[in-house]
Symmetry: C2
Subunit: 487 residues, 2 copies
Amino acid sequence: MLRLQHIAKTGEKMSTPALQPLKHENKPATDSLAAAMQALKLMLGDRYSVSESVRLVHGKGEAWHAPQLPDCVCFPESTDEVSRIVKICAEHRIPVIPFGVGTSLEGHTIAPLGGVSIDLGRMNQVLQVHPADMDCRVQAGVTRKQLNQAIRDTGLFFPIDPGADATLGGMTATRASGTNAVRYGTMKDNVMSLTLVNAAGEIVQTGGRAKKSSAGYDLTRLMVGSEGTLGVITEIGLRLHGMPEAMMAAVATFPDLGSAVATVMDTIQVGLPIARIELVDRDTVQAINSYSKTDYPVRDTLFLEFHGSERYVEEQVELFVELAGSHGGSDLEWARHEEDRNNLWQARHDAYLAILAKYPGTQGFTTDVCVPISNLAEIIEFIKAVLVDSSLEGHILGHAGDGNFHIVFCIDPEISAQVDEVYRVNDLLIDKALEMEGTCTGEHGIGFGKLKYMRREHGDEAIAMMQAVKKGLDPDNIMNPGKTVTA
Amino acid sequence: MLRLQHIAKTGEKMSTPALQPLKHENKPATDSLAAAMQALKLMLGDRYSVSESVRLVHGKGEAWHAPQLPDCVCFPESTDEVSRIVKICAEHRIPVIPFGVGTSLEGHTIAPLGGVSIDLGRMNQVLQVHPADMDCRVQAGVTRKQLNQAIRDTGLFFPIDPGADATLGGMTATRASGTNAVRYGTMKDNVMSLTLVNAAGEIVQTGGRAKKSSAGYDLTRLMVGSEGTLGVITEIGLRLHGMPEAMMAAVATFPDLGSAVATVMDTIQVGLPIARIELVDRDTVQAINSYSKTDYPVRDTLFLEFHGSERYVEEQVELFVELAGSHGGSDLEWARHEEDRNNLWQARHDAYLAILAKYPGTQGFTTDVCVPISNLAEIIEFIKAVLVDSSLEGHILGHAGDGNFHIVFCIDPEISAQVDEVYRVNDLLIDKALEMEGTCTGEHGIGFGKLKYMRREHGDEAIAMMQAVKKGLDPDNIMNPGKTVTA
């Protein structure tokens, strides 16, 4: 607690806009808030909390943004309860902030205007599984690992894997993706339908179970990525995929980042349907070895996975080996068995923690640009040149097959020079990505942390269009205010 | 002309709501209209027309809905011109109806309130092709065949194939799909970005060229399927796909529809990545043979296509033959060479015309439900039982791999008993599909013809949400009014 209070306090002195507390002019009047809180307490009993420690957990994400606490936290157990909570908030015009397990990296769950955090963690039932149609329906608080455990015996799996064991509600709300997206798409491609509670507290069903539909506006896709600003997602219909007959994971190392990236580009361009192709630079490999007690060669590396029938995986592997070889790839290490594959991917997923462990006492700041694949080598070279002249040390890793990569910086948010520098570098990176018709965020979302890039990326007209949608669906701006799209 | 006027006249007597002319209470005042038309004429010169024959072409689609003519037709050549046209219409509150090549089946292009038809046919430039990133950018008037011709030398192709050589603008606006969707998805999955002109006449860019993004609301997906009711789409960024090394088409026949459907379900459920799997019932095969001078065995049939490497196609074919065999599939006829494949698919695509040719003087009415694949056999059995007791003869064909199929009825729209019966049967079919969590339209869209099913499919709350979006983006209801979502 002490440490966090300290950050919040020193945060006021900082020069970077995204770190300053939002102005609280729009905060609801104290008596409205008190009335709403009274009604919620009455409704939920011990599933309502104003404890500071509970509010703190809900007023921050995994990244370094200074926590901003909600006034209370509710723990509903059904869509109907969420509806009743939002109705109370709507009546009193109190902010509503949905919360999954708090793995957000862009401050989606912080409460700049206070209000009510709705923790969906108790809504964790897998409601339906339809093996023959390869789909399922879950409550928003189910995590991706929990879902995969629940459907283990069906021969199906849910592929989207952002690393963290996030809730499917949170993944839907942020349009998450991760290592498998190169083959299986993002949440945009795998959410079929939703139950949501709108800003008036009404329960809305979107989509259905047909594989396709041309019946009106795609409300499901509008909600995917809306980050709680258009409604609270309470149930999700998801597409599942057949567990491949064979899976082969591998690690391949390269003389330099450029060769690794060239291999990624070739792999995509020949249409090899690779399931995962992850770029990890040599410094990050070193951090992984140290953190995960592995002994990968300390070189620029690709972590790979191939899915298909036995014969087809073999064919893909042959083709990949040829492509990698032509760019100096070597040290190919193969993992066929589930345990070996899991170890390999756990090491890759722990890269963020491994990097943080190198710099004790710091917090992570992660960039997230995504560009057309033909620009990937150029933008990585560009940012490496920027970093040569910077005081920052960056670790590069990411979902290279989609043109999406992260640079992880470990900084002390109390040192404003470090904060300023990290923003300067990220600004340059994002400008370059936008120049290449890319995006400031491939998968982490906008939340609070990337708000200032929205207009630069989309232009005034598209922002006005988003604002009109927001205004139409949440006229009193109570749904996760201050995030994604602001007035 | 005579015939069409006659239909419009007799239409007034008919009992079915969708056939009655819309009430014209909301028609713009005559002087506003005259002022707008004067301004448009001045702006466009001979690219502006009030000729009745031109207006008639633009006031109808390919289906049987009685034509309703716009007051004039504009032929812009740039997004900027579309913007200027819409600004004039916005100023005078005149309806704006976008038009591609008029292959719509649900009356999307008719003008129930009159107004200005914007024909995008002259905006037919392929603007950019990026082979390395497998994407391109086209003007809205480019047709799918034109695009595939233009990119022939790149080794890439655009897969979405609704049969008709529709414009990519129209396909985007209706969220079209077709025979390849089972493998390559629908327009929802293949549109990356858009340029559109909004209801105020402003030019808006949505999306970018990155393979994924989590930056704010997915305006691109909101526009896909919005049928001209939220803006005029003028440019489209599209994902392309690598031309497979090998393609194999085939025809397989079955003892009955149930066996063919069971084969489709097995194929999808084992995860065979089939590129096309089209169901055609025996009566339709007979019609095709007669129309296209082919000699397919007159049995319930699947038209198939496999894509991949040589070895992988071989593996898929082996697996399929095994599955089909277990359901009595036989007479497998293979087409490997491009010309043979093209002939096979041309015959399949001409099925609609072949059926119409069987009943001279009639017009086609096509159903379009889509259900979860495990329900496909049941709903086809259900509707066949309904048809046993009906005066109608229906031909069944469709994209069975997606759970989407059509029944084509050939009717004389002047005989109200036939019209009533076709609606009665479609109502039963749609109720059944919705009971199965399916949709009233897998790919043809809502337009004007399926408006009455929207509330039944989505419920009051989702319709209210669509209305709020429509109101927010088109407050004066000038964009294709009376379609998709009405107030």
